[in-house]
């Protein structure tokens, strides 16, 4: 057999078709559960395909059909375990359905997200999953102009035509603040990092709960633009008790900050929750292991990933999801640190 000069040596659909004694097009249809092909032929083609170890070429398919099976999912940062969980849940739904999630990390930078979007969209993705609603105008237009089905994760909106799965950031911020109020704390601080849109929404929830209770004091809000970490949490706690010794509770915006805060309290010999109560957010791994165990808000990131992926699956199939906006519930986890 003579190989043409540009041949890649790859097993192609033609090889399969030839082996099965049908035309290339029939082979193509047989392989995609084509309802229009005779059952016997389907079997013969599939047999030949496995026999030869045929693997379809995604590039050729994408080019011919002008769509791929890739699904970019853009998250802010993998060092936040929250997003690792989200990705895992998405993967569990999309991968078995024949789609390849492609992870993109924006580092909380809208410019970087825009660049990623531009690159990924060039791959004719089957669908798109992004985090939240805060992005550049150009990024917005890229998404809209691409015609690629998109589901927004983590936050929700009622805007028409937007598909999203998330939870109320501000309500969850209020809920923990209210819990602290209910436990009798009055000088409740809020310590946050990164200051991304969702963090600021939670701060808003904190504020409104305290204002409603007549306990709001702007000086107890400690907002740092640094990235979230245990070390930062420790520093924020130290700063709070030094500059505002009257503080009796600290609501940390993410569990890693709270872990750091809790350990810093140990180091300073401050009793928790006796001298200062400590609360976290997200219920990340290890929060139940802290001493004392950390009170926090459990966020439904696995459900968000799963339901978001399911919604996208429907959109990619041309179906209309029953709901275009799904708001899930958070769960207050009361442990010993408050």
């Amino acid at each position: 057999m003579v190989r043409k000069s540009r041949s890649t040596g790859r097993i192609t659909l033609d090889d399969v078709a030839q082996a099965a004694g049908v035309s290339r097009i029939t082979a193509s249809r047989a392989l995609h559960g084509g309802r229009v092909v005779g059952a016997e032929l389907v079997a013969r083609v599939q047999e030949a395909a496995t026999q030869l170890g045929y693997v379809p070429d995604p590039a050729a398919r994408a080019l011919a059909s002008s769509r791929s099976t890739q699904v970019p999912i853009l998250v802010p940062m993998l060092s936040n375990a929250l997003f690792v969980d989200l990705l895992e849940a998405v993967h569990r739904v999309l991968y078995p359905a024949g789609f390849q999630p492609m992870i993109g990390v924006t580092h909380y930078d809208p410019a970087e997200e825009e660049l990623l979007l531009r690159n990924y969209l060039a791959h004719r993705p089957a669908g798109l999953l992004v985090t939240g609603f805060d992005r550049t105008e150009a990024a917005r237009q890229l998404i809209a102009g691409s015609g690629v089905p998109c589901v927004y994760l983590m936050e929700t909106t009622d805007a028409p035509g937007v598909h999203c799965v998330g939870f109320s950031q501000s309500a969850s911020g209020s809920a923990m603040t209210q819990h602290l109020l209910d436990r009798g704390y009055r000088r409740i601080a809020f310590a946050a990092a990164q200051l991304d849109p969702r963090t600021l929404q939670r701060a808003e929830g904190y504020r409104s709960a305290l204002k409603a209770a007549g306990c709001y004091d702007a000086r107890l809000e400690l907002l740092s633009p640094e990235r979230s970490s245990m070390a930062l949490g420790g520093r924020l706690l130290e700063e709070l008790v030094r500059t505002h010794p009257e503080v009796d509770a600290v609501f940390f915006n993410n569990d890693d900050l709270a872990h750091g805060g809790l350990l810093a309290a140990h180091r300073l010999g401050l009793g928790v929750p006796g001298r200062v109560a400590i609360a976290g957010f997200n219920d990340l791994a290890g929060s139940d292991q802290m001493v004392p165990a950390l009170s926090t808000v459990h966020t439904p990131r696995l459900e968000i990933g799963e339901q978001g992926a399911r919604m996208l699956l429907q959109l990619m199939n041309g179906q209309v999801p029953a709901q275009s906006s799904i708001e899930l519930e958070c769960r207050l986890v009361e442990r010993q640190s408050t």
Copy 2:
């Protein structure tokens, strides 16, 4: 202008070529830093391309050239921060060089890795990055048969033709064990999870160091196949002090286990390091925040990612790296828990 029926409405190279008044092929060359094209033409083509907002179609390019710019990188698990750091470092080198790292998570499962490999290799990747050497025979053959340049991360070997960047797992296991011996501990336990190949190599290093010192006791090795977590670390510590009260130090195979062990010691009222010393591995975020701060081994995952990516870049360019196997150093981090 009449659109053909199957047109996708996309701006193509033909559009750019037409706008610049050259042929499609010249446009292609001009866009790829083609040295053979006149400087003036290059400028005209690039101008036209940006003018029209041309984005090359990766699928078409992959099909025509039989290679893409995708670089799959296969890691065991994202919930281990170690691999998040590794990915970040790889991304920082590959992305600016025009390659797209595609993250694949194997969940420490060789069968899953083989499946991922099969799928990713179909995409004609430009290069490949994998973790360690432990995989199915089929996976090995897939890699070899693909002809795709591959760099192995985390472990090293002298096998000819294999490109790798890592550190000596067993030596790092020995080093921490020796540190504990030097500090005067004699009943030193080893607590590990997951039991992946690298964990077992570190266990081997622990064993040989203790044997050399005449202190080895197999009953102090606690190997759990569960996945690593703070909660598991806590349980392992409890079990150790209950069944082997004479234990005076515990070397945890990963920092998250050590964090959990440290907190469990607090809970049980065991002084650290007075009653029992605790050491970790990897030097993950937060280890310096523990109370007492955790002694551990800092592993060079950022350097591994960076140098591994650079080595792959050379291979993808058809160059021969100066070294085919790079073994990096770990650094013992002595803090207060030992």
